[in-house]
Subunit: 218 residues, 2 copies
């Protein structure tokens, strides 16, 4: 028998899906603070916590971010559509539906009650995969655990959100809006609020496809 | 009043610390599979799940990885020590203690029951921060949420582990050991097992230091 506390934890974690349809209702300060606190619990290299979070609720600021987001969204749709031919028709329909819902989020971002903007200090990252002739990812090991903690803690409060990164392509504009230093970068934007739809279920590849034993197998 | 289920979730999440002192006792298959499954629940860009996980329990394979890890660990200690002068004496002592415990892990990695090696396909990542003259991190947005899910789900089962990235600096050697394709990269190694010490508490910067409202403030 599994511990009932473990089961509660797993039930919440297993129904944490990306929420893009968010009601305009306000998030109470105490609920929001609990969610923000959970993000600080995440690990980081050498416990340096090389990130900060700006919570945006001001309508004009949200609108300015929304405008950038909507412009970048179109480019991202092209990237996803380009990857469609290799997919089954059912998957293709799901991707197209996701693009539609994402487009609605892009155009309605100013109506979402909270935008959480994550910033990082690149000088505090120990990047071990920079020598392989491709874009490194390892700096993210000290950054995205905190974003994921925010999302799962939000789910535990009944809130929903989605990890987005497309505004990172507009960092100078984001800097002009939010006033952060030249030495800091943007690595995520999480729209956060009460879901219009339900939490869960998830659509994920089965464990047998994602996990191998002892060594690689095709 | 907060929902008791929310409180259970928060108590587990808030005591998920990096566990580096791990007992050699085996992890039962069913427990391990629940933890692995939780990693697949994480979000990724376009739900592409551009990663795979190799679970290593074979002693010879663990020893080969351990040898690489121990070599890279020394370089990482230098990086951390170089960042000490700006710290308080209390912080300095904590960093030195962490370095010692990390060194023990490095030399004892073959005794840890499970090594989870995370691999990714760079061609499936949409990297939006590659134009800023520094190492990008955004590819990690589709990768490290799954690693964090593994760690928090492990904690919920009483297991412990730690997100490490230093073997990423030895990717060709890791490829020779595990047999993954040239087109895939390593982005994390998580040693996993039953903790010798206790879960929690965490040492983190306070919320007021990590979170700002509406815009950057120094």
């Amino acid at each position: 028998m599994t511990d009932p506390r473990t089961e509660v934890f797993r039930e919440i974690l297993s129904t944490t899906r990306s929420i893009r349809r968010i009601a305009p209702d306000e998030v109470p300060d105490d609920v929001l603070d609990r969610v923000l606190e959970a993000s600080t619990w995440a690990p980081s290299g050498g416990n340096r916590q090389p990130w900060r979070l700006i919570v945006v609720r001001d309508r004009a600021t949200k609108q300015a971010i929304s405008d950038l987001y909507a412009e970048e969204w179109k480019k991202y749709v092209d990237f996803n559509i380009a990857r469609l031919p290799e997919r089954t028709p059912a998957t293709e329909q799901r991707v197209r539906d996701a693009m539609t819902i994402g487009g609605d989020l892009a155009s309605g971002l100013a109506d979402v009650p909270v935008l959480a903007v994550f910033l990082h200090d690149p000088s505090m990252l120990y990047v071990t995969d920079a020598g392989w002739g491709r874009h490194p990812v390892v700096g993210g090991a000290s950054l995205y655990p905190a974003v994921q903690n925010l999302l799962v803690a939000a789910r535990a409060e009944g809130l929903g959100g989605v990890l987005t990164t497309i505004v990172c392509a507009r960092e100078p504009d984001m800097r002009a809006i939010l006033g952060f230093p030249e030495s800091w970068g943007v690595h995520a934007l999480v729209p956060l609020g009460w879901p219009k739809g339900r939490h869960g279920p998830l659509r994920r590849a089965p464990l047998t496809e994602m996990v191998m034993r002892e060594r690689w197998r095709d």
